[in-house]
Amino acid sequence: MKRSFNPDNLLFVIPIIFFIQILSIFISSTADAHKVSAYAYREGYKILGECYFVDGSACKNSKVEVYNTKGDKILETLTDEKGKFSFTTKEKGELKIVIPAGEGHRAEYRIEGIKEQVERKEIKKEVLKEEKQSKSNQNYLDREELTKMIDEVMDLKLQGLRSEIMDLRKQMDRIGLRDIFGGIGYIFGIWGIIMLIKRKRNAS
């Protein structure tokens, strides 16, 4: 069995890798990518979400399908120009949001059930009822207005945080140089192991 290893074997392939890497630095930073990701969150019965490609660009006018825990499709909607979507549903269980982007691409996201929040709301309602009985009507109205105001203020304050979380998510999905070089290292490692196994077999 021939066991000679010719270092020339590597010579001719190094330029290929270099060429590809130079290309990748120039091209992949500007172009859209094709892996689709989805992210969504709940606001009571309203669900807001966004769909985007690996590089963070929006997934425009894409179909959004929502399934319940049993696997039945509850509703269908479309993403807007910014890749955002929203819908309201009475479904309290876990929801699965699927974005079939066509040509074999697909994104999935699961949203947890609403159970806890509902319970809390019920308690609130009971408290409110008691208060209504004991206190005057005006006080109750004030309270409702107050919650509305708090909601509005909180929404404004949370908006920044939400967009920051979104940006972080997009960044996490982006492919870094570390992943690329790491992957190449793994590939060489795997082939090294294959070579070792083959050698041992040939020797025995």
């Binding site: 074997n9 330029p15 492919i175 190449i184 083959k198």
Partner: protein, 197 residues
């Protein structure tokens, strides 16, 4: 061209896995020990090529290089592409682990076909070798789109519609890959002619 997880039904996935397994065993048997560095480098070239996106209209497609890999490796393109796809699935979530089989077959088989169709042209003089490389590189991409549309037939329900969109999307890619493969062949002819022998 990666088919994501959850798009295909179990029979299609299984068929792809079985076909790829056959190709993998054949490919692994055919690799000689001294060829493994070459296979490893082409494997990582495939891994990186998918990150090079070419924008086409509203979407984009990426380089595949399955023609080049197929023509240089023959049946060993199966393990080379499989390893590349495995790491793409693990690190970038391109495709998925369940669709590894069908994706491997859809990418590697066209390369092997290009090997049988155009490999002989690569040993000839420069011009013919360039044309052979270009034809192999381009045809492997186009045959790949056909395999992918066949796999998607069951979910998308329209073979021709999907095939036409995929084909038009990949025409520029096929063109670019044809040129790249042609030049790589010329380069190899100069630097390392025995790699084409």
């Amino acid at each position: 061209m990666h088919i994501s997880e959850g798009v295909l039904s179990a029979p299609v996935l299984l068929a792809g896995a079985v076909l790829s397994l056959a190709g993998l065993t054949l490919g692994l048997k055919k690799i000689k020990n001294e060829d493994i560095p070459k296979v490893a480098v082409l494997s990582s070239a495939f891994f990186v090529a998918s990150l090079i996106h070419v924008p086409i209209g509203p979407t984009s497609a990426h380089l595949i290089l399955n023609g080049l890999i197929g023509m240089l490796l023959g049946w060993s393109a199966f393990p080379a592409i499989f390893v590349g796809l495995l790491l793409q699935a693990l690190l970038f979530q391109f495709g998925g682990l369940t669709t590894l089989g069908i994706n491997t077959f859809a990418m590697a088989m066209p390369g092997v076909l290009a090997y049988y169709l155009f490999r002989k042209m690569l040993n000839r003089e420069r011009n013919i070798a360039f044309i052979g490389g270009a034809l192999g590189g381009a045809s492997a991409v186009l045959i790949g789109t056909l395999f992918v549309s066949l796999a998607l037939f069951e979910t998308e329900k329209s073979f021709i519609g999907v095939a036409v969109t995929l084909l038009t999307m990949h025409l520029p890619i096929a063109f670019i890959e044809g040129i790249i493969t042609g030049f790589v062949v010329l380069y190899l002819k100069k630097v390392k002619p025995e790699a084409l022998g």
